[in-house]
């Protein structure tokens, strides 16, 4: 379609009578609803209503049989006297904050370094770093479980072969080491993706800023701190928020690697609510109400992550 015919069409549209214009708008409205209704129906049935239902369930006691008993805020107060809930709370918060910090700072540094090296090398490194990010958490969890295996695992073998046999650990069965060990796997998977977001952001920085900084005699470090970092504020806000959210809702990786063990040492909200509802041990009664209370908390935490992004982006654009 050429520009001239488009223009002519526009002129014709304006010269049409009001009645047929209204008819046009009506067909537009009909199409608009027709196109939007299917996704909206799906959304209401499988996202909107479940949110409402989770909130309702969180105020009830229910095993899934019969009908739920409304018990007010008992599920929420119960959390304070539940030692597993306390572990899950601290693990979730610390995991989210530490992964967010590491998965923001390390990718940022790598992205800055990448924009300073020979282009071919940059492409190779970017491709390699990104690969763990496209592999499922099930695969990476199982793979790292083998690597961490205390007797046969590669990590302990490697430590032994380089003379650091004393550093060998029961990586996933030592309560003090299990969370850091899982954190490394999360970092391994997340660096590539976050690095790419920063890299794209750096490519978008106006090069004249660097020229101006250089004219003013700024060192490389000063250029990084006073040009690169401020230019990446919006991108950084997005990365922080995405990582926070992924940390708050973490489930797959921990469920696959430890299922919250040993003895709840790596329990997070995700794994705990799952085991409450769907049972980690056979024969236990499902606690859908108490589990839903944790669902609601995860939702609220993800809401906080979104707010963090809004606040940070606002401040950045000021």
């Amino acid at each position: 379609m050429s520009t001239s015919s488009t223009l002519r069409a526009g002129v014709r549209l304006r010269s049409r009578s009001g009645a047929s214009l209204w008819k046009l708008q009506r067909s537009e409205r009909v199409a608009g609803y027709g196109f939007v209704v299917p996704i909206t129906v799906l959304f209401v049935l499988f996202v909107g209503w479940p949110i409402v239902f989770a909130v309702y369930l969180s105020f009830t006691r229910w095993s899934g049989f019969g009908s739920p008993t409304v018990i007010g805020v008992d599920n929420y107060t119960r959390m304070f006297s539940d030692p597993v809930a306390a572990t899950a709370f601290w693990n979730t918060i610390v995991f989210a904050l530490v992964t967010t910090l590491l998965q923001t700072v390390i990718p940022l540094i790598i992205a800055v370094l990448l924009s300073n090296v020979w282009r071919g090398l940059s492409v190779v490194v970017r491709t390699l770093l990104f690969i763990p990010g496209i592999i499922s958490f099930v695969v990476s969890g199982v793979l790292w479980k083998l690597i961490y295996d205390p007797n046969l695992g590669t990590l302990n073998n490697l430590l032994k072969s380089i003379g650091l046999g004393a550093w060998q650990q029961h990586w996933l069965s030592d309560p003090a080491l299990v969370m850091p060990s899982i954190l490394v796997v999360s970092l391994w998977g997340a660096v590539g993706m976050n690095m790419l977001i920063f890299f794209a952001g750096i490519q978008g920085v106006d090069p004249t800023y660097y020229e101006a900084a250089e004219v003013d005699g700024a060192s490389r470090w000063q250029q990084f701190w006073y040009v690169t970092v401020p230019s990446l504020r919006v991108v950084t806000a997005i990365v922080i928020s995405l990582n926070l959210m992924n940390g708050f809702k973490v489930f797959d990786l921990i469920y696959v690697m430890t299922a919250g063990g040993p003895n709840h040492a790596s329990e997070v909200f995700g794994t705990y609510l799952y085991s409450l509802a769907f049972g980690s041990t056979a024969g236990s009664i499902p606690q859908l109400g108490y589990g839903s209370a944790f669902s609601v908390i995860v939702m609220l935490l993800c809401g906080v992550a979104v707010l963090v992004q809004i606040v940070l982006s606002r401040r950045a654009s000021r």
Partner: protein, 294 residues
Amino acid sequence: MTALATRAEQTPRLRARTARRRRFPVGRSFVAFVLLAISAFTIFPLIWLVLTSIRPANTVFGGSFWPTSVTFDAYVRAWNSTDFGLHFANSLWITLATVLGVVIFASLSGYAFAKLRFPFKNVIYVLLLATLMMPSTSLIIPLYLQLKSFGLLNTQVGLLVLYVSSSAPFSMFLMRAFFETLPDELIQAARIDGSGEFQIFWRIVLPLARPGLATVIIFQFLQTWNEFIYANTVLQNTDELPLQPVLFGLVGQYQTDWPTLCAGLTMSIVPVILVYVWMQRQFVAGMTLGAVKN
């Protein structure tokens, strides 16, 4: 994209100039060395995975890092003893059907939100947008109950419905951003020429949105192929399971047969690697667009 490319070329050249002037070539090689070391650390587990899968079973523990002899027995064992083909096919059809569903729902609604005028448009849009990031961890309990009441529990269709409804809003958001870049005159002209609304969408708008569609397709493929929590919860019948829950189950079953386990894991990542290599450019563009537009 062109603007990005030229900037990409300019910035390193400028930096290179700075580096030369400061006589700092050592720093640059050091940076290259650090980056290569990080890459090696990143890729090491995957190399180990593949190497373990091609070792003879009796040389797995205590052997050298590089296998002295190579065998593909483990692949045969993994394929035959776990009904791998069946689960692979399950994953493939569920993933492709999800991709198709998401593309249909997301492009129709993305177009309507970008270009059509109708009452309550913004209300519906904000409604979809507000819960774009609703985590599956939070919804798993009510969704399980919801599927149960619809009689869709333990069916692949139920899983498919969850996948499409939970992913479509995000893709709708991407497609809307894409459709907004198209000129309004194009659509108006087609209307004057007497095309129906669906015809305009199908014949004129959709073909122009191919790069956006490519992004949605790749993104959705990887996400659905890798999904675990819904697949592990909704389906109980072993024959209907897609790959991820099956791989999870292998851990206990093949606790000491690492080559078989590793062969299974390796086979499961072939499709995502293929998709990634095949459509890397669109994927990276889409990922960053998606993240930045957020």
